[in-house]
């Protein structure tokens, strides 16, 4: 079976490199007159038709466009206009190729732009004037019209033409770049992101086996025997995980070899991502009870991890926040660009932290009573949290718990953000603030509530103390992440907007008040957790709204 996956992974890699991925294959129908240029693009289905038939078919909506020689006809409706917009690009490329083959390079590409970068004042900037040609300097000997004088930039232009119009994107390096407007394409990492995704895809298949392995042992009660053996839970988990991890890493190496990049570099980039996925999948068998649960919880885990890994990479080159995901590093690798240690750490440390957290939780909850218990999902999570907490050091545990939950809070908020974008903008902001507040309040209070249920909370004063510790832990974690993102990432404006750390620097006091509200209402006044939570969330959101309003 493993062989099958291996073969498939390689096959997919091969297909993806040879078969260019096009969105919207066969979407438009285009009629062309016999003399019109024959362009190729998977999105268009071309039919040759004379002008009269072509126009008639166009009006009958059997064609979306009709190209008559150098003229293009379209209808006024949306689809025809989209088709027109799409074919414009294709014809642009066609024309560039035609002009290139028919004319002298100096006439075909008469505009070359040298890109220079200016540093802010105060830095040692290259003198702008010094880079310009001196006034009155004479150009190379003028030739007759039609035979343009050769230019130093001709070589650059040729290189770009041979590069099949896919251009090197802008790099803020020191080397100067020559740009030819009609040969420039905006940097689009879509292809490289898809390629990077192919590294991750087999890992998901492998982790399905890993999860099933646990489930099997659970069903056959073999885990009981394992647990009574003289080995630690950590050894059990690592032992079960190791073969699958090795296989996943072998897949990464294979993929790197197929796509002809350095396997060592690919391993360095993808190993943390592989561990992260396994960490998430380790949590799946800890939570589920029936077969149906397995399927759906795995599906949820798959989609969230995929989104977390893939989405930021789409911003490669646009925002430095893209470094949130190691896939961005892979995009860089495929563009033969370099990245620094800071960027690497920014991308991988959170993933490794989640893996470590997952391992820790795994070892704490790996006991028969917990795994075999058939209880509602929420109870299951509460039990897991109870097992995580060190009952001998309650206070320190609460502090550590809210610190550790930070990565999970971030991922949950990311998911919420994505879903709330379906709503109209104004509603979305409100909903997002509410959800963000709820997630944070749950993360901070859950430990205290669980402790209370098991009778570890002694007095109201103790509640306040725990609430303070929880708020402290949360704030420290939040600020640490903010610090990392600010120091590693130069322009992380988006980070603030996305995760409300920069935008809403909620001070310790506020966190403390909100957590106290939940805890005291539950412990002292015996409210139901949901209602207590609602109260705190309302106060928290009001505070956030005030803060957002204050900034604007």
């Amino acid at each position: 079976m493993f062989l099958v996956i291996g073969v498939l992974a390689v096959a997919f890699g091969f297909i993806s490199t040879t078969h260019t991925y096009t969105v919207g294959e066969g979407l438009y129908r285009v009629g062309i007159s016999p003399g019109a240029p024959h362009v190729r693009d998977a999105r268009f289905v071309f039919t040759v038709a004379d002008a009269l038939t072509g126009q008639a078919l166009l009006q009958a909506r059997a064609l979306d466009l009709y190209i008559d020689g150098t003229r293009v006809f379209a209808r006024d409706d949306a689809k025809s206009q989209y088709a027109l917009g799409a074919i414009k690009r294709v014809l642009d490329k066609y024309e560039v190729a035609r002009v290139n083959s028919e004319f002298e390079i100096g006439n075909a590409f008469p505009l070359r732009i040298e890109v220079n970068y200016l540093t802010p004042a105060g830095d040692v900037a290259p003198d702008l004037a010094a880079t310009l040609p001196a006034a009155g300097a004479t150009d190379p000997a003028p030739a007759a019209l039609g035979e343009p004088a050769t230019r130093a930039t001709d070589a650059d232009v040729r290189k770009q033409i041979e590069g099949d119009t896919t251009l090197p994107e802008l790099k803020s390096g020191t080397d100067k770049q020559i740009i030819v407007p009609s040969l420039t394409t905006p940097p689009n990492p879509f292809g490289q992101v898809i390629l990077a995704f192919l590294y991750i895809l087999p890992v998901f298949f492998v982790s399905v086996f890993f999860t099933s392995g646990f489930m099997d042992e659970k069903m056959n009660r073999r885990l009981t025997i394992l647990l009574s053996a003289p080995i630690t839970p950590l050894q059990i988990i690592l032992g079960k995980m190791l073969p699958y991890v090795l296989f996943a890493l072998a897949g990464v190496v294979g993929m790197a070899l197929v796509t002809q990049v350095d396997p060592g570099l690919a391993l360095i980039i993808f190993a943390p991502a592989v561990l992260f996925i396994f960490g998430i999948y380790l949590m799946v068998p800890m939570l589920y009870r029936t077969f149906k649960d397995t399927t759906f919880i795995s599906m949820l885990a798959t989609s969230v991890t995929t989104a977390y890994l893939i989405f930021p990479a789409m911003f490669s080159g646009i925002s430095d926040l893209a470094y949130m995901s190691p896939v961005t590093l892979a995009v860089k690798m495929y563009r033969a660009e370099t990245f620094g240690a800071q960027e690497y750490l920014f991308a991988t440390v959170p993933l490794l932290l989640i893996f470590a957290l997952s391992l820790y939780v795994g070892t704490r909850v790996l006991n028969e009573e917990y795994l075999m218990g058939y209880r509602p999902l929420f109870r299951k999570i509460a039990d897991a949290i109870y097992l995580i907490l060190n009952r001998a050091h309650v206070n320190a545990s609460i502090l550590a718990l809210s610190l550790m939950l930070i990565p999970i809070v971030y991922i949950a908020q990311l998911v919420a953000l994505a879903i709330s974008l379906n709503l109209p903008m104004r509603v979305a902001v409100g909903v997002m603030l509410l959800i963000a507040a709820s997630i944070e309040e749950i993360a901070k209070s859950i430990g205290i509530i669980v402790l209370h249920e098991h009778g570890y909370v002694r007095s109201t004063r103790h509640v306040f103390a725990l609430a303070f510790l929880s708020a402290l832990g949360f704030l420290v974690g939040e600020k640490a992440l903010l610090f990392v993102s600010v120091s590693a990432v130069a322009q992380s404006n988006l980070a603030g907007a996305l995760f409300n750390t920069g935008l809403l620097p909620v001070p310790l006091a506020a966190h403390f008040v909100f957590t106290s509200i939940v805890s005291v209402l539950v412990v002292r006044f015996r409210w139901r957790y949901a209602f207590a939570l609602l109260a705190a969330v309302l106060v928290h959101s009001a505070y956030n709204a005030l803060l957002v309003g204050g900034i604007q």
Binding site: L63, K79, D92, L128, P181, S182, S212, S319
Partner: protein, 345 residues
Amino acid sequence: MNAFFAIVKKELRAITRERTILIAITIQLFIASFSSALLIGLLSFYDPEALAANTRPNLRIGIIGNTNSPLNLYLRNARMRVTAFDSAAEAEAAFHNRALDLILYVPDDDPRSAVEMKMFLPRSEMLSSFIMIFLREPLKRYENFLRRERGVTVNYTDLGGSPATTFEFLYSVIVPMLMFFPAFVAGSMVIDSLSEELETHTFETLWSAPLSLTMIFGAKIFAALVVAVIQIALWLALLRLNRIDIQNLGWVFVLATLTAAINIVLSAFTATSLRDRERSQFLYSLFIVIMASASYVVDFAPMQLITRLATGDYYSGGWDVAKYALVLAVLMPVLFRAARRLITV
């Protein structure tokens, strides 16, 4: 027949009680929103025309050298503020005072040789990428002007049309995905339900009741189909609410339902022949991945048919959908016979 609906009811109740269906719907919503809202927004970042149509930044450009070239006009037409400077030093000072976003040095245009411009951008990857995206169109116009001066004609320069990236993505990725995701979920539901009963041997108990095998299978398949159909209808309504126009709505719905049915029947077959949830689910997800990739290569695949139907393709209609009904009609009896043999063995 009462027994049939009893099983259907039991299946549906199991799903709603465990709330797993809520997770399934959340996942679909999450994937769809993630890919649509964010990817569309993102792709338009890389789509200069879409970007220029949505936002109009007033880039402030300082020109040195030849301050009267036609480029100024093209830049102004693209709503950029152009200021001429006599010397490089003045322009640089303005740049450092944040009065300019970039500086362009334009040499005199001599038709006998290529024009070598110089561009001075702020040293920031993000900022300079954005500036380049906005400058591309006016620069291309200027390039074409220079070409005309040199006797080179370029055709198709003034085609209008709307930026199509969003449109293409919506109808060829999002709509098919939403229409087929319910089928995917339903297939994996049937596998779970069947293999759980087969593995824990409750299937025999069910069978010993006065129920034919066909009826048990039929009921399980029907229950999964009901869940799929509800989701399909839900997504179509959601698309409608988002003002996304779906042509041939009826056929799109029928096609999505048929694919769901085919998928469910195949999954049921997989579950009965393997009798092992782990292996069935694995084979199933592998099958889905292969089908999804194949649908990009093969023309008749349901994914492209959905796209064509939804965008109102002239040549696609009920006949194409009917083919899938035929496939289902052939598959159903085959499955029932095979299942009877597999289970009685």
